[in-house]
């Protein structure tokens, strides 16, 4: 069984109001020096595949077809 971690983040230049609110929350707690906060999603996926390359092919297809909206999001796949 292969375990992978997929990280989905908003593309640069796409406004992230939730990240902004988190940034404000951290400042309100007294954390200083924060440049910016951008939030995203992590998916941990376990799958059966004969090797890492096959798994990467499947995982990238999953991102392109469902896990990320490539109009606004980028994704990164990592085999753990």
């Amino acid at each position: 069984m292969i375990t992978a971690r997929i990280t989905v983040t908003l593309k640069n230049g796409v406004l992230d109001p939730q990240g902004k609110a988190i940034e404000g929350g951290l400042s309100a707690l007294g954390f200083s020096g924060i440049g910016s906060v951008r939030q995203g999603k992590i998916f941990d996926v376990e799958l059966d595949a004969k090797d890492d390359n096959t798994a990467l092919g499947e995982l990238n297809a999953m991102c392109a077809k469902l896990l990320a909206n490539t109009v606004i999001e980028d994704y990164h796949v990592e085999i753990l």
Binding site: V14, L15, P17, Q18, L66, V71, I72
Partner: protein
């Protein structure tokens, strides 16, 4: 004129839409469950509002990949009219039938209120019964209505008349780029909008300005058949 209304688990404005279409057209629309793979013969397909699949992953993301959406895509490609309202608009963008994306409201809160819309393009099959630049009131109720498109897409839809409805700047409820409330595809047969015209069709609603969208769509003027 046959109308179909697609229902997904979590749709909740479907019955409002059925009531509106029934009152305006005199005929009850056909309801189509999301797991169907074929649509009944339809001249107008409506994807109503709600919270399909609980808005899990992204609003409209999972519904956009439901079996019935292949049939909706084929119908849209053949020039059949498709209307998405609220979650329906989100589903159409997620399905790639309309450009751009609908993101979390800039104010982060769910908004349920009345806004004012400007009819930016009345030369469509969905809007020909409005005056160009007419301002109409309309209710909105959503959490993810903040329209976004990259600058290239935005330039294209702005220059080609694909922005059909715009919030008046003082009533933009969600931070939508260029105050965009509703857009149409290039071919002119797929419209998505966040506001709920089906909730403004008779005096008891406080106005009937939404009715003209359905009257337009039920009596199309332009041939969009592919």
């Amino acid at each position: 004129m046959k109308t179909s209304i697609n229902q997904f688990p979590g749709s909740n404005r479907d019955r409002d839409m059925i009531a509106a279409i029934t009152k305006i057209s005199g005929a009850t629309p056909q309801s189509v469950w999301h797991s169907e793979t074929e649509l009944p013969k339809s001249d107008l397909i409506i994807i109503p509002g709600g919270f399909s699949y609980g808005d899990y992953l992204r609003s409209g993301a999972i519904a956009a990949r439901a079996p019935i959406m292949d049939a909706v895509r084929s119908a849209a490609d053949a020039g059949i009219m498709v209307l998405g309202v609220c979650n329906g608009f989100q589903i159409l963008t997620e399905a790639g039938l309309l450009p751009g994306a609908l993101m979390r409201n800039a104010g982060l809160k769910f908004v349920c209120k009345q806004v004012n819309l400007k009819v930016e393009n009345n030369r469509t099959n969905f809007t020909h019964r409005y005056e160009q630049n007419q301002i109409i009131p309309c209710p909105v109720a959503h959490h993810d209505g903040n329209y976004f498109a990259d600058s290239e897409t935005l330039n294209k839809i702005e220059s080609e008349g694909q922005v059909v409805f715009r919030y008046t700047p003082d009533t933009n409820p969600n931070g939508s780029i260029n105050d965009i409330a509703g857009i149409i595809n290039e071919a002119g047969n797929v419209l998505g909008l966040m506001p709920h015209p089906e909730n403004l069709i008779e005096a008891d609603h406080g106005g009937d300005e939404g009715k003209y969208l359905f009257e337009s769509a039920l009596h199309p003027m332009l041939d969009t058949a592919a």
